[in-house]
Amino acid sequence: MRIHVDAEKCQGHNRCYALAPELFDVDDFGNAVVIGDGNVSPDLVERAKLAVANCPEFAITLSE
Protein backbone atom coordinates (compact mmCIF):
# COMPACT_ATOMS: atom_id res chain seq x y z
CA MET A 1 0.00 0.00 0.00
CA ARG A 2 1.05 3.59 -0.57
CA ILE A 3 0.53 6.66 1.57
CA HIS A 4 0.10 10.13 0.09
CA VAL A 5 -0.09 13.66 1.53
CA ASP A 6 -1.94 16.31 -0.45
CA ALA A 7 0.35 19.32 0.05
CA GLU A 8 -2.48 21.70 -0.92
CA LYS A 9 -4.68 20.40 1.88
CA CYS A 10 -2.03 19.88 4.59
CA GLN A 11 -2.04 22.78 7.09
CA GLY A 12 0.60 21.41 9.43
CA HIS A 13 -1.51 19.96 12.24
CA ASN A 14 1.25 17.32 12.63
CA ARG A 15 -1.09 14.57 13.73
CA CYS A 16 0.45 12.14 11.22
CA TYR A 17 3.99 12.92 12.32
CA ALA A 18 2.99 12.30 15.95
CA LEU A 19 1.14 9.05 15.23
CA ALA A 20 3.38 7.50 12.58
CA PRO A 21 6.87 9.03 12.57
CA GLU A 22 8.07 5.96 10.61
CA LEU A 23 5.94 7.15 7.67
CA PHE A 24 5.89 10.96 7.95
CA ASP A 25 8.36 13.74 8.54
CA VAL A 26 7.74 17.51 8.74
CA ASP A 27 9.57 20.27 6.91
CA ASP A 28 10.85 23.53 8.44
CA PHE A 29 7.36 25.02 8.12
CA GLY A 30 5.73 22.14 9.96
CA ASN A 31 4.06 20.67 6.86
CA ALA A 32 3.92 16.90 6.48
CA VAL A 33 6.05 15.02 3.97
CA VAL A 34 5.98 11.29 3.26
CA ILE A 35 9.24 9.51 4.09
CA GLY A 36 10.78 7.73 1.10
CA ASP A 37 8.54 6.57 -1.74
CA GLY A 38 5.42 6.24 0.41
CA ASN A 39 5.33 2.44 0.36
CA VAL A 40 3.82 1.16 3.59
CA SER A 41 5.17 -2.13 4.90
CA PRO A 42 2.51 -4.55 6.22
CA ASP A 43 3.48 -3.94 9.85
CA LEU A 44 2.81 -0.20 9.45
CA VAL A 45 -0.57 -0.37 7.70
CA GLU A 46 -2.50 0.14 10.94
CA ARG A 47 -0.38 3.21 11.75
CA ALA A 48 -1.02 4.57 8.27
CA LYS A 49 -4.78 4.09 8.72
CA LEU A 50 -4.61 5.95 12.04
CA ALA A 51 -2.83 8.86 10.35
CA VAL A 52 -5.56 8.99 7.68
CA ALA A 53 -8.32 8.89 10.30
CA ASN A 54 -6.80 11.64 12.44
CA CYS A 55 -5.97 14.24 9.79
CA PRO A 56 -8.35 17.19 10.39
CA GLU A 57 -7.89 18.42 6.81
CA PHE A 58 -8.53 15.05 5.07
CA ALA A 59 -5.10 15.50 3.45
CA ILE A 60 -3.83 11.90 3.70
CA THR A 61 -4.86 8.97 1.51
CA LEU A 62 -3.87 5.31 1.58
CA SER A 63 -4.17 3.39 -1.68
CA GLU A 64 -3.40 -0.08 -3.05
Binding site: Q11, G12, H13, N14, Y17, A18, V26, D27, D28, F29, G30, L50, A53, N54, C55, P56, E57, F58
Partner: protein, 412 residues
Protein backbone atom coordinates in the same frame (compact mmCIF):
# COMPACT_ATOMS: atom_id res chain seq x y z
CA UNK B 1 -9.45 35.91 45.00
CA UNK B 2 -11.73 36.43 42.05
CA UNK B 3 -9.62 37.27 39.03
CA UNK B 4 -12.55 37.68 36.79
CA UNK B 5 -15.20 40.40 36.92
CA UNK B 6 -17.89 39.96 34.27
CA UNK B 7 -17.92 43.02 32.00
CA UNK B 8 -20.93 45.30 32.17
CA UNK B 9 -22.87 44.36 29.08
CA UNK B 10 -24.55 47.01 26.97
CA UNK B 11 -26.98 44.33 25.81
CA UNK B 12 -28.25 42.73 29.01
CA UNK B 13 -28.97 39.06 29.70
CA UNK B 14 -29.79 36.63 26.91
CA UNK B 15 -33.49 35.89 26.52
CA UNK B 16 -33.35 33.16 23.88
CA UNK B 17 -30.26 31.23 22.71
CA UNK B 18 -31.51 30.60 19.17
CA UNK B 19 -32.38 34.23 18.34
CA UNK B 20 -30.56 36.40 20.91
CA UNK B 21 -27.39 34.47 21.83
CA UNK B 22 -24.42 36.26 23.36
CA UNK B 23 -21.20 34.33 23.94
CA UNK B 24 -20.20 36.97 26.52
CA UNK B 25 -23.20 36.14 28.70
CA UNK B 26 -21.75 34.17 31.65
CA UNK B 27 -24.37 31.44 31.06
CA UNK B 28 -22.99 30.70 27.57
CA UNK B 29 -19.64 29.07 28.32
CA UNK B 30 -20.95 27.48 31.49
CA UNK B 31 -23.69 25.71 29.49
CA UNK B 32 -22.03 25.67 26.08
CA UNK B 33 -22.39 21.95 25.36
CA UNK B 34 -26.12 21.96 26.07
CA UNK B 35 -26.67 25.20 24.11
CA UNK B 36 -24.83 23.89 21.03
CA UNK B 37 -26.71 20.60 21.22
CA UNK B 38 -30.05 22.37 21.34
CA UNK B 39 -29.15 24.71 18.50
CA UNK B 40 -27.87 21.83 16.38
CA UNK B 41 -31.31 20.21 16.64
CA UNK B 42 -33.17 23.45 15.95
CA UNK B 43 -31.16 25.14 13.22
CA UNK B 44 -27.66 24.71 11.88
CA UNK B 45 -26.97 28.48 11.97
CA UNK B 46 -28.38 30.75 14.71
CA UNK B 47 -28.58 34.54 14.51
CA UNK B 48 -28.46 37.33 17.06
CA UNK B 49 -28.84 41.07 16.52
CA UNK B 50 -26.12 41.76 19.08
CA UNK B 51 -22.78 43.24 18.00
CA UNK B 52 -24.40 44.60 14.84
CA UNK B 53 -25.54 41.14 13.76
CA UNK B 54 -23.85 37.82 14.54
CA UNK B 55 -24.27 34.31 13.08
CA UNK B 56 -23.49 31.11 14.95
CA UNK B 57 -23.10 27.89 12.95
CA UNK B 58 -22.93 24.82 15.22
CA UNK B 59 -22.43 21.84 12.90
CA UNK B 60 -19.07 20.49 11.75
CA UNK B 61 -20.19 20.87 8.12
CA UNK B 62 -21.08 24.58 8.35
CA UNK B 63 -18.09 25.52 10.53
CA UNK B 64 -15.74 23.72 8.13
CA UNK B 65 -17.32 25.34 5.08
CA UNK B 66 -16.84 28.86 6.47
CA UNK B 67 -13.29 28.13 7.65
CA UNK B 68 -12.33 27.18 4.10
CA UNK B 69 -14.20 30.03 2.38
CA UNK B 70 -11.90 33.06 2.30
CA UNK B 71 -13.93 34.71 -0.50
CA UNK B 72 -17.21 35.18 1.34
CA UNK B 73 -15.66 35.58 4.82
CA UNK B 74 -12.77 37.81 5.82
CA UNK B 75 -10.46 37.38 8.82
CA UNK B 76 -9.96 41.18 9.01
CA UNK B 77 -11.45 41.00 12.51
CA UNK B 78 -11.55 37.78 14.53
CA UNK B 79 -12.87 38.84 17.94
CA UNK B 80 -16.58 39.64 17.98
CA UNK B 81 -17.13 42.79 20.00
CA UNK B 82 -18.88 46.15 20.11
CA UNK B 83 -15.95 47.59 18.16
CA UNK B 84 -15.13 46.54 14.59
CA UNK B 85 -11.46 47.39 14.03
CA UNK B 86 -10.85 49.57 10.99
CA UNK B 87 -7.63 47.80 9.97
CA UNK B 88 -8.17 47.00 6.30
CA UNK B 89 -7.90 43.57 4.65
CA UNK B 90 -5.77 41.72 3.66
CA UNK B 91 -3.35 42.53 6.52
CA UNK B 92 -5.55 43.38 9.52
CA UNK B 93 -4.37 44.47 12.96
CA UNK B 94 -2.72 41.26 14.18
CA UNK B 95 -1.26 39.42 11.17
CA UNK B 96 -1.41 36.68 10.07
CA UNK B 97 -4.55 35.70 12.03
CA UNK B 98 -6.30 38.87 10.80
CA UNK B 99 -4.95 38.49 7.26
CA UNK B 100 -6.56 37.18 4.10
CA UNK B 101 -4.90 35.61 1.04
CA UNK B 102 -2.54 36.26 -0.59
CA UNK B 103 -0.79 38.35 2.10
CA UNK B 104 -1.66 35.78 4.77
CA UNK B 105 0.48 33.05 3.22
CA UNK B 106 3.63 35.16 3.11
CA UNK B 107 3.22 36.61 6.63
CA UNK B 108 2.51 33.18 8.08
CA UNK B 109 5.62 31.67 6.51
CA UNK B 110 7.73 34.08 8.57
CA UNK B 111 6.30 32.60 11.75
CA UNK B 112 6.00 28.90 10.94
CA UNK B 113 9.67 27.89 11.42
CA UNK B 114 9.99 28.99 15.09
CA UNK B 115 6.73 27.13 15.87
CA UNK B 116 7.51 23.92 13.94
CA UNK B 117 7.28 20.70 15.98
CA UNK B 118 11.03 20.14 16.10
CA UNK B 119 11.75 23.69 17.32
CA UNK B 120 8.98 23.53 19.92
CA UNK B 121 10.14 20.14 21.22
CA UNK B 122 13.26 21.91 22.52
CA UNK B 123 11.06 23.66 25.12
CA UNK B 124 9.87 20.47 26.84
CA UNK B 125 12.47 20.49 29.62
CA UNK B 126 11.75 24.13 30.51
CA UNK B 127 7.99 23.56 30.59
CA UNK B 128 8.51 20.61 32.92
CA UNK B 129 10.69 22.66 35.28
CA UNK B 130 8.06 25.40 35.33
CA UNK B 131 5.31 22.88 36.16
CA UNK B 132 7.44 21.44 38.96
CA UNK B 133 7.93 24.84 40.57
CA UNK B 134 4.19 25.63 40.38
CA UNK B 135 3.36 22.24 41.90
CA UNK B 136 5.92 22.82 44.66
CA UNK B 137 4.16 26.08 45.51
CA UNK B 138 0.80 24.29 45.55
CA UNK B 139 2.22 21.63 47.87
CA UNK B 140 3.41 24.37 50.21
CA UNK B 141 -0.07 25.90 50.29
CA UNK B 142 -1.64 22.52 50.98
CA UNK B 143 0.87 21.90 53.77
CA UNK B 144 -0.09 25.28 55.26
CA UNK B 145 -3.75 24.31 55.15
CA UNK B 146 -4.59 26.85 52.43
CA UNK B 147 -7.02 26.15 49.57
CA UNK B 148 -5.57 25.50 46.11
CA UNK B 149 -6.95 26.30 42.70
CA UNK B 150 -5.81 24.44 39.57
CA UNK B 151 -6.58 27.44 37.33
CA UNK B 152 -5.21 30.24 39.53
CA UNK B 153 -2.23 28.39 41.03
CA UNK B 154 -1.29 26.29 38.00
CA UNK B 155 -2.89 26.52 34.54
CA UNK B 156 -2.87 30.29 34.15
CA UNK B 157 0.88 30.58 34.79
CA UNK B 158 2.19 28.06 32.29
CA UNK B 159 1.53 29.56 28.84
CA UNK B 160 2.15 33.17 29.90
CA UNK B 161 5.57 32.25 31.23
CA UNK B 162 6.56 30.36 28.07
CA UNK B 163 5.36 32.97 25.57
CA UNK B 164 6.96 35.79 27.61
CA UNK B 165 10.27 33.99 27.45
CA UNK B 166 9.89 33.32 23.72
CA UNK B 167 9.15 37.02 23.09
CA UNK B 168 11.81 38.25 25.51
CA UNK B 169 9.27 40.15 27.65
CA UNK B 170 9.60 40.69 31.42
CA UNK B 171 8.30 37.59 33.23
CA UNK B 172 7.05 39.76 36.10
CA UNK B 173 4.61 41.47 33.71
CA UNK B 174 2.44 38.35 33.58
CA UNK B 175 -0.45 40.07 35.37
CA UNK B 176 -0.33 42.86 32.79
CA UNK B 177 -0.48 40.32 29.95
CA UNK B 178 -3.43 38.51 31.51
CA UNK B 179 -5.07 41.93 31.82
CA UNK B 180 -4.55 42.55 28.09
CA UNK B 181 -6.06 39.17 27.29
CA UNK B 182 -9.05 39.89 29.51
CA UNK B 183 -9.54 43.30 27.85
CA UNK B 184 -9.35 41.91 24.33
CA UNK B 185 -11.16 38.58 24.66
CA UNK B 186 -13.59 38.98 27.58
CA UNK B 187 -14.51 42.69 27.74
CA UNK B 188 -16.26 42.49 24.40
CA UNK B 189 -19.78 43.69 25.13
CA UNK B 190 -18.99 46.86 27.06
CA UNK B 191 -18.89 50.49 25.99
CA UNK B 192 -16.93 50.83 22.72
CA UNK B 193 -14.92 53.81 24.05
CA UNK B 194 -13.48 51.75 26.90
CA UNK B 195 -12.46 49.01 24.46
CA UNK B 196 -10.68 51.52 22.26
CA UNK B 197 -8.81 52.87 25.32
CA UNK B 198 -7.68 49.36 26.26
CA UNK B 199 -6.29 48.83 22.75
CA UNK B 200 -4.34 52.07 23.12
CA UNK B 201 -2.83 50.87 26.41
CA UNK B 202 -1.74 47.62 24.78
CA UNK B 203 -0.25 49.38 21.75
CA UNK B 204 1.78 51.66 24.02
CA UNK B 205 3.15 48.70 26.00
CA UNK B 206 4.11 46.77 22.87
CA UNK B 207 5.80 49.79 21.26
CA UNK B 208 7.87 50.27 24.42
CA UNK B 209 8.98 46.63 24.22
CA UNK B 210 9.90 47.07 20.56
CA UNK B 211 11.95 50.18 21.43
CA UNK B 212 13.70 48.23 24.18
CA UNK B 213 14.58 45.47 21.73
CA UNK B 214 15.80 48.06 19.20
CA UNK B 215 18.21 49.37 21.85
CA UNK B 216 19.12 45.89 23.14
CA UNK B 217 18.61 43.25 20.43
CA UNK B 218 18.62 39.70 21.76
CA UNK B 219 17.96 36.12 20.75
CA UNK B 220 14.17 36.07 20.99
CA UNK B 221 11.08 36.22 18.81
CA UNK B 222 10.71 39.99 19.12
CA UNK B 223 14.21 40.64 17.78
CA UNK B 224 13.61 37.98 15.11
CA UNK B 225 10.45 39.81 13.96
CA UNK B 226 12.26 43.15 13.90
CA UNK B 227 15.04 41.66 11.80
CA UNK B 228 13.19 39.40 9.38
CA UNK B 229 12.40 40.64 5.88
CA UNK B 230 9.23 40.35 3.83
CA UNK B 231 9.22 41.37 0.16
CA UNK B 232 12.82 42.56 0.65
CA UNK B 233 12.03 44.95 3.51
CA UNK B 234 11.95 44.79 7.28
CA UNK B 235 8.52 44.81 8.88
CA UNK B 236 7.16 48.19 10.00
CA UNK B 237 6.84 48.59 13.78
CA UNK B 238 3.05 48.44 13.68
CA UNK B 239 3.18 45.05 11.97
CA UNK B 240 5.77 43.75 14.45
CA UNK B 241 3.47 44.98 17.22
CA UNK B 242 0.45 43.33 15.58
CA UNK B 243 2.21 39.98 15.30
CA UNK B 244 3.39 40.18 18.92
CA UNK B 245 -0.15 41.06 20.00
CA UNK B 246 -1.37 37.91 18.26
CA UNK B 247 1.29 35.69 19.87
CA UNK B 248 0.71 37.16 23.31
CA UNK B 249 -3.08 37.00 23.21
CA UNK B 250 -3.43 33.72 21.35
CA UNK B 251 -0.66 32.09 23.37
CA UNK B 252 -1.99 32.76 26.84
CA UNK B 253 -5.57 31.99 27.79
CA UNK B 254 -6.12 29.43 25.03
CA UNK B 255 -3.67 26.92 26.48
CA UNK B 256 -4.49 28.04 30.03
CA UNK B 257 -8.10 27.11 29.22
CA UNK B 258 -7.17 23.74 27.71
CA UNK B 259 -5.06 22.81 30.73
CA UNK B 260 -7.82 23.94 33.10
CA UNK B 261 -10.57 22.07 31.25
CA UNK B 262 -8.48 18.89 31.19
CA UNK B 263 -7.87 19.10 34.94
CA UNK B 264 -11.58 19.91 35.43
CA UNK B 265 -12.43 16.68 33.60
CA UNK B 266 -9.99 14.64 35.68
CA UNK B 267 -11.30 16.21 38.90
CA UNK B 268 -14.87 15.25 38.00
CA UNK B 269 -14.21 11.79 36.44
CA UNK B 270 -12.41 9.54 38.93
CA UNK B 271 -12.37 6.55 36.60
CA UNK B 272 -10.61 8.42 33.78
CA UNK B 273 -8.09 9.99 36.18
CA UNK B 274 -7.19 6.65 37.78
CA UNK B 275 -6.94 4.95 34.41
CA UNK B 276 -4.60 7.65 33.12
CA UNK B 277 -2.45 7.52 36.26
CA UNK B 278 -2.20 3.72 35.98
CA UNK B 279 -1.49 3.69 32.24
CA UNK B 280 0.49 6.71 30.98
CA UNK B 281 0.48 5.22 27.45
CA UNK B 282 -3.08 6.56 27.21
CA UNK B 283 -1.81 10.13 27.48
CA UNK B 284 -1.60 10.76 23.73
CA UNK B 285 -5.19 9.80 23.00
CA UNK B 286 -6.42 11.39 26.24
CA UNK B 287 -4.90 14.78 25.36
CA UNK B 288 -6.44 14.71 21.87
CA UNK B 289 -9.79 13.76 23.38
CA UNK B 290 -9.60 16.64 25.89
CA UNK B 291 -8.79 18.93 22.96
CA UNK B 292 -11.83 17.63 21.08
CA UNK B 293 -14.31 17.68 23.95
CA UNK B 294 -13.09 20.90 25.59
CA UNK B 295 -11.59 22.78 22.65
CA UNK B 296 -11.14 26.29 24.02
CA UNK B 297 -11.14 28.40 20.88
CA UNK B 298 -14.02 29.80 18.87
CA UNK B 299 -12.76 31.98 16.03
CA UNK B 300 -14.70 34.61 14.12
CA UNK B 301 -14.98 36.12 10.66
CA UNK B 302 -16.70 39.10 9.12
CA UNK B 303 -19.04 38.48 6.18
CA UNK B 304 -17.10 39.84 3.19
CA UNK B 305 -20.09 40.29 0.89
CA UNK B 306 -23.85 39.77 0.95
CA UNK B 307 -24.63 36.13 0.20
CA UNK B 308 -26.92 33.26 1.07
CA UNK B 309 -25.40 30.63 3.36
CA UNK B 310 -27.54 27.51 3.84
CA UNK B 311 -30.64 29.69 3.58
CA UNK B 312 -29.26 32.42 5.84
CA UNK B 313 -29.15 35.91 4.30
CA UNK B 314 -25.69 37.00 5.43
CA UNK B 315 -24.95 40.71 5.07
CA UNK B 316 -21.54 42.31 4.56
CA UNK B 317 -19.82 43.21 7.86
CA UNK B 318 -21.98 40.97 10.03
CA UNK B 319 -20.00 38.77 12.40
CA UNK B 320 -19.79 34.99 12.12
CA UNK B 321 -18.60 32.97 15.09
CA UNK B 322 -16.70 29.80 14.21
CA UNK B 323 -17.17 27.51 17.20
CA UNK B 324 -14.67 24.73 16.53
CA UNK B 325 -15.62 23.31 19.95
CA UNK B 326 -19.22 22.87 18.72
CA UNK B 327 -18.00 21.26 15.49
CA UNK B 328 -16.03 18.80 17.63
CA UNK B 329 -19.20 17.68 19.39
CA UNK B 330 -21.29 17.15 16.25
CA UNK B 331 -22.67 13.58 16.23
CA UNK B 332 -22.76 13.70 12.43
CA UNK B 333 -18.95 13.78 12.44
CA UNK B 334 -17.95 11.92 15.62
CA UNK B 335 -19.20 8.62 17.01
CA UNK B 336 -20.27 9.00 20.65
CA UNK B 337 -19.64 12.73 20.22
CA UNK B 338 -21.04 13.58 23.64
CA UNK B 339 -18.85 11.04 25.47
CA UNK B 340 -15.27 11.70 26.56
CA UNK B 341 -13.31 8.56 25.60
CA UNK B 342 -9.69 8.92 26.64
CA UNK B 343 -8.68 6.02 24.39
CA UNK B 344 -10.47 7.33 21.28
CA UNK B 345 -8.36 6.17 18.33
CA UNK B 346 -9.97 8.06 15.45
CA UNK B 347 -10.13 11.72 16.36
CA UNK B 348 -10.24 14.18 13.50
CA UNK B 349 -11.03 17.08 15.84
CA UNK B 350 -10.73 20.71 14.81
CA UNK B 351 -9.55 22.21 18.11
CA UNK B 352 -6.82 24.12 16.30
CA UNK B 353 -9.06 25.26 13.50
CA UNK B 354 -9.32 24.17 9.89
CA UNK B 355 -7.84 25.58 6.70
CA UNK B 356 -5.18 28.24 6.22
CA UNK B 357 -5.55 29.73 9.71
CA UNK B 358 -4.70 26.51 11.58
CA UNK B 359 -3.41 27.60 15.00
CA UNK B 360 0.21 28.58 14.51
CA UNK B 361 1.05 27.61 18.08
CA UNK B 362 -0.60 24.19 18.06
CA UNK B 363 2.68 22.35 18.65
CA UNK B 364 3.49 24.57 21.62
CA UNK B 365 -0.06 24.27 22.98
CA UNK B 366 0.04 20.47 22.75
CA UNK B 367 3.43 20.36 24.45
CA UNK B 368 2.30 22.60 27.32
CA UNK B 369 -0.99 20.75 27.74
CA UNK B 370 0.61 17.29 27.77
CA UNK B 371 3.43 18.19 30.14
CA UNK B 372 1.06 20.13 32.43
CA UNK B 373 -1.35 17.19 32.73
CA UNK B 374 1.45 14.61 33.07
CA UNK B 375 3.12 16.52 35.89
CA UNK B 376 -0.13 17.37 37.64
CA UNK B 377 -1.39 13.80 37.93
CA UNK B 378 2.10 12.52 38.76
CA UNK B 379 2.17 14.89 41.74
CA UNK B 380 -1.51 14.66 42.66
CA UNK B 381 -2.90 11.28 41.57
CA UNK B 382 -6.06 11.81 43.62
CA UNK B 383 -8.00 15.06 43.57
CA UNK B 384 -11.59 16.27 43.30
CA UNK B 385 -13.37 19.60 42.97
CA UNK B 386 -13.33 21.54 46.23
CA UNK B 387 -17.04 22.26 46.43
CA UNK B 388 -19.46 21.70 43.57
CA UNK B 389 -19.43 22.37 39.84
CA UNK B 390 -21.08 25.70 40.67
CA UNK B 391 -17.89 26.79 42.42
CA UNK B 392 -16.02 26.62 39.11
CA UNK B 393 -15.89 29.99 37.33
CA UNK B 394 -15.80 29.84 33.53
CA UNK B 395 -14.44 32.48 31.17
CA UNK B 396 -16.73 34.51 28.95
CA UNK B 397 -16.35 35.09 25.22
CA UNK B 398 -14.69 33.13 22.43
CA UNK B 399 -12.16 31.32 24.64
CA UNK B 400 -13.78 28.76 26.94
CA UNK B 401 -12.10 27.43 30.04
CA UNK B 402 -12.22 27.50 33.84
CA UNK B 403 -10.91 30.72 35.39
CA UNK B 404 -11.33 29.46 38.95
CA UNK B 405 -11.03 25.74 39.61
CA UNK B 406 -10.82 25.00 43.34
CA UNK B 407 -9.58 21.47 43.97
CA UNK B 408 -8.98 19.29 46.98
CA UNK B 409 -6.00 16.97 46.88
CA UNK B 410 -6.61 13.64 48.59
CA UNK B 411 -3.68 12.02 50.37
CA UNK B 412 -3.88 8.31 51.16
Amino acid sequence: MTVYEPPVSIYGPVTDWATDFDHADPAYNRNAHAIWSELREACPVAHSDRYGGTWLPVTHETVREIAYDTENFTSRAVVVSTVVPDDPAPIGGAPPITSDPPFHHDARRLLLPPFSPKKIAEWEGEVRILCHSLLDAMEAKIAAGEPVDAALDYAQHIPVNVISRMLGFPLEDDDIFRGFVHDILESINGEPEERIRSFERIDAYLLAQIEDHRANPRDDLTSYLMDVEMYGEKLPDNMVGGVILLLLVAGIDTTWSAIGSSIWHLATHDEDRRRLVADPSLMTTAIEEFLRAYAPVTMARLVAKDHDFHGCPMKKDEWVLLPFPAANLDPAEFADADKVLIDRQENRHAAFGLGIHRCLGSNLARLELRVAVEEFIARFPEFVLDGTVDDVVWSVGQIRGPRELPIRVIRS
